[in-house]
């Protein structure tokens, strides 16, 4: 039987379209339990490749013959080996090209909405890590918010749309993933903005992203307005786009809220987080559609693959917005936090420009889920 090579893009389609897929993950059990390809209708079996060196006969009964089967490993080498063994045993299977590394890197651009006068808003969904980046397009110009490090994806997309990137923003100094923001700005001549309170240690020039900063994109003047919203970091800033969308960065997610501890200051920042979520955001229009910088679980994706919900609905349904007692809120966001993201301190150093590890090292650092939220 044939062994089919699957791209991360093909797997992404299966996730977004909520199709069925059987994944044979041949990484070691710790790696699988920590992080895997999530799909609402995916089934999994984890058998480390090194348990299959003598053959796959014993595991054939665990692998359905009537479903599409994809073999996945860290890079791809072991999945090819196992896929070939299964193929020799008469099964038609695929393997994921580039393995979980490729999955962690893949971005799917999805249109969130049309804006006034032909403008468009895109969400770039990094399914493998749960990162969300944004591009606002209007009359030949573009603004990008929270770009991940795969700068080519954004540059190519802008070229395809025939727009010049004019403004690049980071809502805060990220700790879970490496920002592509300042590199995109350097390549395109765009202005790169960072909240000054998060940037006290950065070693590159930037334009301060301050409260009420207002940037217009394109001749149709799509409004990008900054709203200071500290708590995940002391500089965390949200954006109101076109008076319709609220980009919350890592402050507010679909079913969770930002954690205040990734720069080691949970106790100091919990009050800011409370103030942002329970006062500043309450003053905004409930019809704003929240677009966060992360999703946590695949169930948070809408039918079209976007991650977006009305602010008023989140006020009702998001547990983190419904903790009346301040002391209880404090406990919730400082006690029993999930493990911190992989290599978060090194990632912060990279985002400050202090260290510049090579591509392979960056990939290793970003392995695993983002873990920026607390439920």
């Amino acid at each position: 039987m044939t062994v089919n090579k699957w791209t991360a893009a093909k797997v992404a389609r299966k996730v977004i379209d909520q199709e069925e897929l059987f994944i044979l993950d041949v990484r070691n059990t710790d790696a699988f339990e920590d992080w895997k390809i999530e799909g609402q209708n995916f089934e999994y079996v984890n058998i480390p490749y090194f348990e299959l060196l003598d053959g796959v006969d014993e595991v054939l009964t665990k692998i359905p013959a009537d479903k599409e089967v994809l073999v996945v490993c860290a890079k791809e080498g072991s999945s090819i080996m196992v896929a070939e063994m299964l193929s020799e045993a008469g099964r038609e299977v695929g393997y994921l090209e580039g393995g979980m590394r490729a999955w962690s890197s893949y971005l799917e651009p999805i249109k969130v909405a049309d804006l006034k006068n032909g403008g468009e808003l895109y969400q770039f969904v990094r399914l493998g890590k749960g990162c969300l980046s944004y591009m606002i397009i209007s009359d030949g110009e573009a603004a990008i918010i929270d770009a991940v490090r795969f700068t080519d994806v954004f540059l190519d997309f802008a070229k395809e749309k025939g727009v010049d990137i004019k403004h690049v923003f980071d809502t805060h100094l990220h700790a879970d993933h490496i920002s592509g923001g300042r590199h995109i700005a350097a390549e395109t001549g765009a202005t790169y903005y960072l909240p000054p309170k998060d940037a006290t240690e950065v070693v590159f020039p930037y334009t301060p992203l301050t409260e009420r900063l207002n940037v217009k994109v394109g001749a149709s003047q799509i409004n990008v307005e900054a709203l200071y919203s500290p708590g995940h970091t002391i500089g965390s800033t949200s954006f109101v786009i076109d008076n319709r969308f609220l980009l919350t960065g890592d402050i507010l997610f679909m079913d969770s809220i930002g954690r205040p501890d990734l720069a080691g200051k949970a106790e100091d920042w919990v009050g800011d987080l409370r103030e942002t979520l329970y006062k500043r955001y309450r003053e905004l229009a409930e019809d704003l559609v929240v677009l966060p910088a992360h999703f946590m679980i695949i169930d948070e994706l809408n039918e079209d693959g976007t991650v977006a919900r009305r602010l008023g609905d989140l006020f009702k349904e998001n547990h983190g917005l419904n903790i009346e007692d301040e002391a209880e809120f404090r406990r919730t966001v400082t006690d029993n936090l999930p493990p911190q993201p992989n290599a978060h301190e090194q990632i912060r150093q990279i985002n400050m420009g202090k260290i510049a590890p090579d591509e392979d090292e960056q990939t290793e650092m970003e392995i695993g889920p983002n873990r920026c939220a607390v439920r």
């Binding site: 490749y49 090194f50 490993c73 860290a74 890079k75 080498g77």
Partner: protein
């Protein structure tokens, strides 16, 4: 520590370090020690996991100049 055999798997990508380690292990006797040199970072977790699954013991491991050294005693 008496090293019975050394396997140089430097520069090899997953799954080859484990495939070769298994073969080398098959060629030594119970209680003997295999030294494995690898550069593939996936080996940090995979070699101990493989060894444990097979009942072998990692008696020492170290990293020197980007090379990982494992000393694996064969199961008795």
């Amino acid at each position: 520590m008496n090293i019975t055999k050394t396997l140089d798997a430097k520069g090899l990508a997953c799954p080859m370090p484990i495939v070769k380690t298994k073969k080398a292990m098959d060629s030594i006797s119970s209680g003997e020690v295999l030294e494995v040199l690898v550069t593939d970072k996936g080996a940090i977790n995979d070699i101990p996991a493989w060894a444990t699954a097979g009942g072998h013991t990692i008696i020492q491991q170290k990293t020197e100049a980007d090379v990982l050294y494992f000393y694996i005693q064969k199961a008795t």
